[in-house]
Symmetry: C2
Subunit: 463 residues, 2 copies
Amino acid sequence: MDSFESILIKNGYVLTIDPKRRILPKGNIRIEGNKITEVSKSPSNDAELVIDASGKIVMPGLIDTHVHLAQALIRGCADDVSLVDWLKNYVWVLQGNFTHADGKASAELCMAEMIRTGTTGFIECMIHSRYGFDGIAKSVEKIGMRAALSKIIMDSTGYADSPDIMYPGMVESAGDCLQETEAMLKKWQWDANGRIQVWYGLRSLGAVSDSLFKQVVQLARKHKTRMTMHLGEVPDDVRYVQENHGTNLVGFARKLGLLGDDMVFAHGIHFEDQEIQELAATQSNISHCPASNMKLASGFAKVPEMLEHGVPVSLGCDGGPSNNTYDMIREMRLAALIHKPRVNDPTVVSAEQVIEMATLGGAKALGLGDELGSLEQGKLADIILVDMRHLNLTPNTNPVSNLVYAGSGNDVDTVIVDGKILLRDKEHLTLDRDAVMVKAEKHAVDLIERAEVEIEPKWPIFD
Amino acid sequence: MDSFESILIKNGYVLTIDPKRRILPKGNIRIEGNKITEVSKSPSNDAELVIDASGKIVMPGLIDTHVHLAQALIRGCADDVSLVDWLKNYVWVLQGNFTHADGKASAELCMAEMIRTGTTGFIECMIHSRYGFDGIAKSVEKIGMRAALSKIIMDSTGYADSPDIMYPGMVESAGDCLQETEAMLKKWQWDANGRIQVWYGLRSLGAVSDSLFKQVVQLARKHKTRMTMHLGEVPDDVRYVQENHGTNLVGFARKLGLLGDDMVFAHGIHFEDQEIQELAATQSNISHCPASNMKLASGFAKVPEMLEHGVPVSLGCDGGPSNNTYDMIREMRLAALIHKPRVNDPTVVSAEQVIEMATLGGAKALGLGDELGSLEQGKLADIILVDMRHLNLTPNTNPVSNLVYAGSGNDVDTVIVDGKILLRDKEHLTLDRDAVMVKAEKHAVDLIERAEVEIEPKWPIFD
């Protein structure tokens, strides 16, 4: 990790995303320690390291608010299959056979890709005991990203009417879940110079009992930490709360105390208008996952409506079998594209709005709205540089929409987190990319063999 | 352009896309002249050039069946605006101010991006006299791609009930259109070793009179060449044929003689089931343009239904203000993603099917179904290599779906067209990439100033 007393990023096309959304076409950012100390049209002083950002966008690091680190290793293992098939015959079987070494290999692969494509912070939504929370936290500490690591919370194997749906290796008890969360909170909360948070990762409606939901809400608020959970990804969620509680999804969440700005609901597809208004009123966060929602046929989240009502929306790449990448720039493009035909209006979910989701929205979801998500004096120095001198970005007439509609993570060339440089000239400084890839490939092959899962293209192989 | 007597591509993961869809995990392809002379598990002979394809997918080059070459220069010039605004205030005004030098600069930028991202052949759907057909054909000849170049055909300024909609600089007369097509057919048809075709590019319903439609159908068949046109992109198309002909889109096309395997309809969104059956029966080609259809809120083409009925479907990236890239791998991903939630089935439009669209479907649209689109002995040597050793493609468990769901054009590292190498190790061999980019940027800036169009982000600029 390259560490400098002070860094000056000069002459970049700076998207501050500050309250006025100012753009400085030849702007300068000064970093001292882990903070931004200057955002200006002309730089005041020199610095230990000067980075020339000519031809590059300088912007806040992207924040992925719904990541399964342990699914990078099973990327592409369940494509074009039904959701039940996806879960029961592939994802759960593979993840139910994970070792802690698999978990670490997957997390490091995932972080390598996120850094390479401009993500500086993320919310890992549910770390199972099989993946090894402690080892993953150590990798985050070493590699240098900002992360909320959520311990999976569950006490049931699925919806009440299909109790046997979950693969045995994936089941955990409430006691174990809560105990590990307590231990990890003690060990890691705000560690690594404040980069690491420990959250409660409530699995999903069918996998958590009402009493456990209530208990976790109390514990999270007692420990002043936060929660995330899958909500409204599948129509079954709507049916479940209707049958068991006679209400809709948000009504259920209200009843159990789950609403609030300390909650990040992932997916959030199957809401009615009135529910969207209540999400806005309580400032409950939604992590919108466009690629995953398309690939698993989950549906179209009502993002234009949520934005209109003021729901805090951020973006999530979800996982390797549902996306299948962890590239937030490609995710921004998808978020900007897919809602326009549904509402028959090409002006909704604009390039500017998806950038806000990926930065400010992500910071708010992380609980760091005042400290992160924009380039302003005093804020944390999580910054990326995107080189616009690529064929796909030429000409660069409107850099903002160009980034969203024509850019991809490949165009990112520098990544700074907490004032430290993690990527420079597209090269990782805090991990050995080739070693991470070789290790991940090996672990994937071993895992698939161990789990006895067959994964092949639909076309015949002649070898 | 690197030219060799014989090329042997060794040890690649070969997607033949032959009638059996065979995959050779360690396969070899031998090229002599412009043809594939061997596809085998073990290579017979040595060759003048041997390319090691270990860790790479070897597959037929991708074919983009709906390209506006002249829109690369106006990439990102009209984002998040309504369709009328998009046309009247941006795209037509800019394109109506094109010079031939702009047309050439844009075509070369577009081809550079297509080659870099794995496209070997394309259909340019409508070359206006302002863009300079002859100059563009010379660029295609020099740069080495395979292309159908369609001369724009029109004699009206828009739908009958809005005659003044088109920017004056974009209007052409039937006489001029037909005359230039004749001249270009004489000069370029099957030139450049057969790489270049000259087609009729019927603009769209409102811009072509019934008599001109009929005349062009006769001429195209007389000259044994082919046609393409925009059809069913906007709901206005449906209204127009209903009001003027009392029929639906395909009924109209039948009446005017437009159906057949020598026609490529671009977009093809607003069809009913019965129309889809007739498209299949006549083997009329559809160029599906997912990114464009999302960005302009045009709607969801019924691709699962078209595939089920046997309509020949291929893929098109459309243009710089509607996509905004020319990356067929990203287009394949989008095509595989967006239809699943509409029909509530994650198994439709599979990775395999979108690869077929981008290869076999493209070859058929080009009228080269027997000579192109798969790796088989005797077929034309249009081949790409995709390096799977990238973070976003690790682990590479199922290379076929991995390419579609996690790949992007950036992962392409070698491109061969007609037996000649156009890209090697991600570097262009037949054009100077940096010079193309600098020239395009300059032409874009000049054009925007000349056309007096204002293009800026929505956020305030402080300079």
